[in-house]
Amino acid sequence: MTSLTSLDSATSLDAAEDAAENSADSITTADERSPAELAAGRLRLRRENRRLFVRRFLANKSAVIGSALLLLVAVVSLLAPWLTGRDPYALEVADRLKPPGAEYPLGTDNFGRDLLTRVLYGTRMSAEIGFVVALSSSLLGLVVGLYAGYVKWLDQILMRVMDGLFAFPAILLAIAMMAALGPSVGNLMICLTIVFVPSIARLVRSSTLVAKEQTYVEAMHALGASHNRIVWKHLMPAALSPLIVQGSFVFAEAIIVEAALSFLGAGIPAPTPSLGNLLSDGKLFIYNSSWMTIFPGLALVVVVLAMNLFGDGLRDLLDPHARRAGKKR
């Protein structure tokens, strides 16, 4: 309720300024207020806007929780080598399958490797893959979507290829491509990028199709702008906010698919710690040493949940329609 009233006061402030300016519009005289006064007013307005945004962000529970978890994941991924003094590959054969305790906070695996270290490095690996895949499939999907949306004859070609890729279940397609390319982190990133491009391309294409019918695009054409300029300067911004949201979901999705592939043995080669590999290692010992499965699983849940909550919150913040619909519910 409090946030509502302050929103109202801000809009009335806006309206007052608008009214003042519109009266100036009709008589075409210079503004009566002094520059200092105007600057102060502008600053006040900007500060008010910022406060409103912060409040809106804080009111959005999923955005707050998502960002907090995401921050945790980011810190863990970046600082993994310093958070534990151990080497994720160091074998301690005497300490095999030790349960969580003072020396090994999360226990050890069947080769006596410290599970905490491996989970931290695994999270780092997952986050890295998710980030790279989200970024590269967003970029590629943006290019494909923009040109498919803008150039009619390219649309048929590009989108039919995208539909073809879309027809396969994501994991199946990724397994097939990994089998063809051979297991390595780089190949995994390439495969996952290809898998996720179609969803991004479709999204960008749809917003481009809407934006290109706007009069301002025709106006830019009439002003002598080239097609490429229209695409990148005037159509791309319209696609950006849905793209960012979709990108964050691809991030989460890529981590899940990576884990699934590694679990099936089609992902990252064995000794490298990734969450999927850790789960795969744990499944043989799940009755006697369940920590080997539980902790990597929890880490996976946290990472994916963080990304999904963050994406949801982002969508609510960026898209006014979604926000309103959410309030009604």
Binding site: A24, D25, T28, A30, D31, Y216, G224
Partner: protein, 334 residues
């Protein structure tokens, strides 16, 4: 008489290739715009006014949708013979266009200033900072108060009239010799309309810029233009100086349009006369004179063969009607 011609359109035909076959919204249009002149183009909706204007800049997609025939002579060049790249350097630079709806003609995601700067830098090698300074000047020229501040604002922060001023500022950025204004005041309320028209006239006088003003408002034409071209179904039916045409309209369509303008001193009890019927769709163009089905003067000759646009002896007026001479006589007798 007309001034030295800047733009000469001769027998322009624009074809649209649609699923139902080829239609031509612009069918053999010839008209001239002199240097420093304001020419009005009037007609009902669907008469090909806007299509003519957009054809001048070749805005239709020539790869799939449209093709052109005829000649659009601008200075030494024929615009229809230019390569796409040459055409781009004409658009916005030598010939500019403003659109009907200023609310959607500006990109909501860029500031006003940025959009003017973009047009400037599109056609001139000019530094970012200098362009920004010039953008403010242009906003000032179009009568926008506090232009330095406005340049940093987004389109949604401006009223409709202000946005049309911004559109004009953008159109003027590269000092074009010809401004095509496609119903620039239709979306605005009446007081703002008057201001925008005044602004266009003022710029025409001060910068010597020619204007092609497309409108369906005869009052606007009478106020602002020196010559007027009346279009019906993709053809010019009458053209001449505003004085002659308003004093003595010769084509039945023009006469109908004039009669359908409400008058302050008119009889309020009587129903306002309208041109009967409506503009037929482009794929059902009547044979013979295109206006014949709606024309009170139409006879068998009108229905069977099409009149040519012909100059009336002793006047500057051209008219496309078999009965022009008779009508001229009738009107004189009244």
């Amino acid at each position: 008489m007309t001034a030295e011609p800047l733009l000469q359109i001769r027998e322009l035909k624009t074809y649209f290739h649609t699923e139902r076959g080829r239609v031509s919204p612009v069918d053999g249009v010839s008209l001239e715009v002199g240097k420093g002149e304001i020419v009005g183009i009037v007609g009902e909706s669907g008469c090909g006014k806007s299509a003519t204007a957009q054809s001048v800049l070749r805005l239709f997609d020539e790869k799939r949708l449209a093709s052109y025939e005829g000649e659009i002579r601008y200075g030494e060049r024929d615009l229809l013979r230019l390569t796409p790249k040459q055409m781009r350097s004409v658009r916005g630079n030598e010939i500019s266009m403003i659109f009907q709806d200023p609310l959607s003609s500006l990109n909501p995601v860029h500031t006003i200033g940025d959009q003017i700067v973009e047009t400037l830098r599109l056609h001139q090698s000019i530094g970012r900072r200098e362009a920004a300074k010039k953008a403010v000047e242009l906003l000032r020229l179009t009568g926008i108060p506090a232009p330095e501040r406005r340049a940093r604002e987004y389109p949604h922060q401006l009223s409709g009239g202000m946005r049309q001023r911004v559109m004009i500022a953008i159109a003027l950025a590269c000092q074009p010799q010809l401004l095509i204004a496609d119903e620039p005041t239709t979306a605005l309320d009446v007081t703002i309309q008057a201001q925008i028209l005044e602004l266009i006239q003022d710029l025409n006088r001060r910068l010597g810029m020619s204007v092609m003003l497309i409108t369906h408002d005869l009052g606007v034409v009478a106020e602002t233009c020196s010559r007027v071209v009346v279009m019906y179904l993709g053809q010019v039916v009458e053209s001449g100086s505003v004085r002659d045409l308003f004093r003595k309209p010769l084509h039945p369509y023009t006469i109908g349009l004039m009669r359908s303008v409400p008058r302050l001193d008119g009889d309020r009890q009587r129903e306002l006369p309208a041109v009967p019927g409506s503009v037929p769709p482009l794929h059902q163009i009547p044979s013979g004179c295109r206006f014949a089905p709606r024309c009170p003067y139409a006879d068998d000759k009108c229905r069977s063969s099409q009149p040519e646009l012909a100059a009336l002896p002793g006047t500057d007026t051209q008219v496309r009607c078999w009965h022009a001479g008779r009508i001229a006589g009738w009107e004189a007798a009244q």
